[in-house]
């Protein structure tokens, strides 16, 4: 058996396979299909300081080889997460990564501070694809200085690994990557969803109540892979790659492009066992190709 363990910016994972925030609930929802102990890590639903009800419905629409979602960060708040959802995960031998979102730079810091003193959370994934309330709603994730400010605010409040999750809706993803690495990110996750929309031609209204929504799924894979490739060249922290991964071959493409770990998102909805299938597929690939340690193929396409 090949060694699949990886170090994602200080977070030790027994294998590179994790889940994309928002597509795997709080983990237990998938327990009927997935052996949670075998996952490299579990990334839970995006969490905010206060509980949120999220957007009105419809929140979801199917698109060619993809889907649009505008859940609007419905979540029980960080206290709800810690009280309700964290305890059952403690019996599982897999690190839990909490994905956080804030309305202001300060909120990110407060969230990090709460997580720092909470046992059972191994790392923080910082979702910067959120509107900055103080800057008229422009996303933190589209302005290097804002993204860096968020990262610093988190960094100053925690010693746990900080993984900053980049938005793909930018001209130059490497500029964003460099800004948040300089601000203290231990690892980068990419990509979040592409901004999209759909129209119901019968009603002449947007399909999604929120008008705009995030595009994910196999459709976006070529864009995500390109960004992982570019960011791998631009920075030296490890990357958590995601965006349209639907099978082991896709996952290996991301690893070869430079991802240390990979996350499965939308594919959990088309095959709830996908994380296990992908893990087994990576194992089979390594065996077949004589890869003794997964590190041999991380970034292989650059060599």
């Amino acid at each position: 058996m090949s060694n699949l363990s990886v170090n994602l910016g200080g977070l030790l994972m027994k294998n590179p396979v994790t889940t994309a925030s928002g597509t795997f609930g709080f983990g237990l929802e998938f327990a009927p299909f997935v052996d949670l102990n075998r996952l490299g890590a579990i990334v839970v639903k995006g969490t905010t300081l206060a509980p949120r009800e999220g957007n009105p419905t419809p929140r979801m629409a199917e698109t060619p080889a993809g889907m649009l979602n505008a859940i609007g960060l419905q979540n029980p708040g960080i206290q709800g997460l810690i009280e309700e959802h964290l305890p059952p995960l403690q019996s599982i031998n897999t690190p839990v990564i909490v994905n956080i979102s804030g309305n202001t730079v300060e909120e990110y810091g407060q969230l990090a501070e709460i997580i720092e003193r909470t046992e059972g959370i191994a790392a923080i994934e910082v979702n910067i694809s959120c509107p900055n309330v103080k800057q008229g709603g422009i996303q933190f994730g589209t302005i290097p200085a804002s993204a860096a400010a968020v990262t610093r605010s988190v960094r100053e409040n925690t010693k746990k690994p900080v993984i900053v999750k980049l938005s793909p809706n930018v001209t130059d993803i490497t500029e964003m990557a460099k800004a948040v690495v300089d601000a203290g990110a231990d690892a980068l996750a990419l990509i979040n969803t592409l901004l999209g929309m759909a129209i119901d031609i019968r009603t002449r209204r947007p399909v999604i109540a929120n008008v705009f929504a995030g595009l994910s799924g196999p459709a976006v894979k070529p864009v995500a892979l390109r960004m992982v490739y570019q960011v791998y060249k631009a920075v030296s922290v490890p990357l958590l790659g995601m965006g349209g991964i639907s099978n082991a071959d896709d996952a290996i493409e991301f690893i070869m492009a430079g991802a240390t770990s990979i996350a499965v998102g939308t594919t959990n909805f088309t095959n709830p066992r996908a994380t296990m299938d992908i893990l087994e597929g990576i194992e089979a690939f390594c065996l077949r190709e004589g890869v003794r340690d997964i590190s041999e193929i991380i970034g292989a396409v650059h060599r």
């Binding site: 928002g22 597509t23 795997f24 609930g25 709080f26 929802e29 998938f30 009927p32 299909f33 639903k45 009800e53 999220g54 009105p56 419905t57 419809p58 929140r59 979801m60 629409a61 199917e62 698109t63 060619p64 080889a65 993809g66 889907m67 979602n69 859940i71 419905q74 799924g217 196999p218 639907s246 939308t266 959990n268 909805f269 088309t270 095959n271 709830p272 066992r273």
Partner: protein
């Protein structure tokens, strides 16, 4: 019971009305776990087009034969592909999912009244089967636009259910809507327990009537779904909040429902 991810084998499929199909699937483990009002997430093929599974209710559950039956309207891209599936084909699915219809205690002495609009009939048949096993087959009030949208009435009759139909164009039964059938309170002196499934405007209208008349009422809701497992939060509906100072909260149709007591449901506007 926990849902199962598996491949069902299509045993038989037939078009029972123009655009409406009934398929029988062999999927023993799911059939054994399923309860009336639950649903499955079924994929119409193994590819990426369409990407997502389709939620379809269980129209018949046969734990002994190990089969489930689906009754569905072939309306859009996915269900049109499903309608072309041939016997022997494997269809990936997971289920049973959700919280189904609630049967009350016999002491409560409710008379089950199934209130269906169009394809909303689908999840009511296994419920009627369960009630008739208790020797209380109940009444079906079935509204549809036209006779072409009325189906599986025989199945209910075979169970001993009193079937009353209304069509908007008068092509079958009474001319009118299901609410017109309800107006007559055809249950006489008995206490009705309404089990309602159909299009949203009909659900709202029945809910309103039930509230004003004090009838017990359960409603099966529909929302667009991805996971069917309570993970993605695509499928929420508004329900009464327990916390003070809040009018409503978001519940998940897939795991908190699809069936809710009418008192829980909060409609928009």
């Amino acid at each position: 019971m926990e849902p199962l991810l598996t491949k069902a084998v299509l045993l038989d499929q037939e078009q029972i009305q123009p655009g409406f199909f009934r398929m029988i699937l062999s999927v023993p483990e799911v059939a054994r776990r399923a309860e009336p009002g639950q649903f499955v997430q079924i994929r119409v093929n193994n590819g990426l087009d369409p990407l997502l599974p389709r939620p379809i209710s269980l129209h018949d559950i046969d734990p002994l034969k190990g089969t489930i039956t689906l009754l569905y309207h072939s309306a859009g891209k996915g269900t049109r592909i499903l309608a072309t599936a041939a016997a022997g084909q494997e269809l990936p699915l997971w289920g049973p999912l959700g919280k189904g219809w609630k049967m009350t205690e016999p002491e409560e002495n409710y008379l089950p009244v199934y209130v269906a609009g169009g394809i909303g009939i689908a999840p009511l048949l296994p419920l009627a089967a369960a009630w008739s096993r208790r020797e209380e087959p109940g009444i079906l009030l079935y509204g549809a636009r036209s006779t072409g949208q009325v189906m599986t009435v025989e199945g209910f009759k075979d169970l001993g259910v009193d079937v009353q139909v209304a069509t908007e164009d008068g092509s079958l039964g009474m001319t009118g809507r299901v609410t017109d059938l309800l107006e007559r309170s055809p249950w006489g002196e008995r206490r009705p327990l309404l089990y309602v499934c159909g299009p949203k405007p009909m659900l709202k209208a029945v809910h309103k009537m039930a509230e004003s008349k004090g009838w017990a009422c359960q409603i099966s809701l529909e929302e667009r779904m991805c996971c069917g497992l309570g993970a993605c939060l695509s499928c929420v509906c508004k329900t009464k909040a327990k916390a003070a100072g809040k009018a409503w909260t978001h519940s998940k149709v897939c795991t908190d429902g699809p069936v809710f007591w009418s008192g829980e449901v909060v409609w928009d506007e």
